[in-house]
């Protein structure tokens, strides 16, 4: 019998390798819950379509068919919510539910590497959810989207998914109990689905509210996605601003970990 391997973190054995190991750990866990995830990936957009888009299509009249107009809302709500939930649950589990944080902190990991692994896995799952949601809405609405349009949609949606993954990671550090967790997720759903023009056109809101909400990069992204399917003019300012906000939030999250991880 012999014990093999290196004795210490070798030179060049950087963050990339460690994050890869953490992502592999998440992959091992995902494999065990493959069926549940598949169910969530398909059910979430379908339920949004069934319980939000279809009833609202009978109330809201637009220049274009409502079901087509609301499809980006389904993509954004489903993928953003999933990324947010994955990140907040994973972070809460690491920080509060088990001794996992101590187990990770006694390895050569840096705080940022733990944070990055959570953000990456949440963004990745959110991205897969977005692809599934796009495919499902195309099928359900008998819609045609060209490859160029799909790429543009992905370009717009990805920073938004990333934003919710980072936000979930940050909030997961603070949220300890189940009631707060459920409240925050519910709040996030309401914000995503109903307040930034995903399912309810902003024209139906008071002007003052619209003036403020229109400045949010997330609203711009949703609006751009809606313009993509209408072959209208799109803007990239939302992506750029969301990207900057994401960088700020990551730095803030890492700073918070240095205050909260090691007592």
């Amino acid at each position: 019998m012999s014990i093999t391997g290196s004795l210490c973190r070798p030179n060049g054995w950087g963050s990339r390798v460690v994050v890869k190991v953490l992502l592999y750990r998440d992959w091992l866990n995902i494999k065990k819950h493959g069926m549940s995830l598949l169910l969530i990936f398909t059910m979430l957009p379908m339920l949004l379509h069934l319980f939000l888009s279809i009833p609202l299509s009978n109330i809201i009249s637009l220049d274009i068919r409502y079901l087509n107009w609301a499809a980006p809302g389904i993509w954004v709500t489903a993928s953003g919510l999933l990324a947010f939930c994955v990140a907040i649950l994973r972070m809460k589990k690491i920080k509060h539910d088990t001794g996992q944080l101590d187990a990770l902190l006694k390895t050569p990991l840096r705080n940022g590497e733990i944070i990055f692994s959570v953000i990456i896995i949440a963004t990745l799952l959110g991205f897969i959810q977005a692809l599934v949601a796009i495919a499902l809405t195309v099928l359900l609405n008998n819609e045609y989207l060209g490859m160029g349009q799909i790429l543009l949609i992905i370009l717009q949606v990805l920073p938004l998914i990333n934003f919710y993954a980072i936000l979930g990671t940050l909030l997961g550090i603070f949220i300890k109990d189940g009631i707060t967790l459920v409240s925050v997720i519910l709040l996030m759903f309401l914000v995503l689905a109903l307040s930034i023009g995903s399912f309810l056109p902003l024209a139906n809101f008071p002007t003052n509210y619209v003036d403020v909400v229109s400045m949010f990069p997330l609203t711009t992204i949703i609006n751009s996605c809606q313009m993509i399917i209408q072959n209208g003019a799109i803007t990239y300012i939302g992506i750029f601003l969301t990207f900057l906000i994401n960088i700020f939030l990551v730095l803030l999250t890492i700073a918070v970990t240095y205050k909260t991880f090691r007592k």
Binding site: I3, T4, C8, R25, D102, A103, T107, P108, L109
Partner: protein
């Protein structure tokens, strides 16, 4: 010998409680060092501080010459730590737990797998490798944690009450492994088990209220008692107050304590014992027991107001 672990004037307070106060000690490379202390004395705090789970307020700490404040990740890669509480990843199987933690410490996937199987074989939990940690008994979880602390072949092994919750068979196995490893590794462990401390540690430190009361080899610690002996007299009935008053009149009888029908006291002088014995014979004495002061007596004396 070269120092492996050095702590200098370490201080730590948490929520207005002083956990460690001006704590200093050193552990030589290739030696086994035990920290003995009662509950809440700060044993676990010292160990957690060394692996970076908590941060010190003041003082300096080095492992293999590297400052733990600035070279934390390098230190943790050469350190294996087993905490007192179960902190296995409950979303991974036992094998995956060992592999992932091996890889996080810098092993390749193949080496981590080989080492995980090797430790499972050594510690006899090979048939549990595909099970989830929550399906294991407490003792088996502790064995997996022990294997996880060693899977990357660390140079410094830090263990918090390593045999707590283990059956005697597993306990022996763990100590056999540590006994073999201690020739070329530094082992630091916290314990409340005096027999294990006496048997396996090269040096012993007694921690009380976050400060080292005494440290050294077992022989040196025993020497400091200057031949102190513990005497135990058993009576048919509990010793009377009158007897106790007379006993306390003898000048060098230390810590006389009544435990049921037994009287226990310490003394360095045989003559004092004979005086006490002469007195006891008048009070239905049943049995006598004498023993040279051991580590446990020293510990009790140091942490409970002193023997003198």
């Amino acid at each position: 010998m070269e120092a492996s672990i050095t702590l200098k004037a370490i201080g730590k307070t948490f929520r207005n409680n002083t956990l460690l106060a001006d704590l200093s000690f050193g552990v030589e490379k290739g030696s086994t060092f035990v920290i003995l202390g009662e509950n809440g004395s700060g044993k676990s705090v010292v160990l957690k501080l060394l692996v970076g789970l908590i941060e010190k307020d003041v003082g300096m700490a080095y492992i293999h010459g590297k400052d733990i404040s600035t070279r934390g990740d390098k230190i943790r890669s050469i350190t294996g730590y087993m905490p007192q509480t179960i902190d296995l990843d409950d979303e991974l199987t036992v094998l995956e737990n060992l592999e992932i933690f091996g890889q996080l410490h810098g092993l390749s996937a193949r080496d981590a797998h080989t080492n995980a199987l090797d430790w499972a074989e050594r510690l006899n939990f090979g048939n549990n490798l595909q099970r989830m940690p929550q399906d294991l008994s407490h003792g088996n979880k502790r064995l997996v944690q022990f294997a996880r602390a060693l899977v990357h072949d660390p140079q410094v092994i830090i263990l918090d009450e390593p045999t707590k919750g283990l059956d005697p068979h597993s306990r022996t196995k763990v100590w056999d492994i540590l006994d073999k490893l201690h020739q070329h590794k530094t082992i630091l462990f916290a314990s409340q088990n005096f027999a294990e401390a006496e048997r396996y540690a090269d040096r012993i430190a007694i921690l009380h209220h976050g400060n080292i009361k005494m440290d050294g080899t077992l022989e040196r610690l025993i020497e400091t008692t200057h031949g102190l002996t513990r005497y135990r007299l058993s009576f048919s009935q509990p010793p009377t107050d009158e007897f106790m008053e007379k006993l306390k009149a003898f000048p060098r009888i230390l810590r006389p304590q009544v435990k049921g029908t037994e009287l226990e006291f310490y003394s360095r002088e045989r003559k004092q014992f004979f005086n006490a014995l002469e007195l006891a014979l008048k009070y239905e004495l049943v049995d006598i027991d004498t023993s040279i002061c051991r580590l446990q007596d020293l510990f009790v004396g140091l942490t409970d107001g002193g023997l003198e």
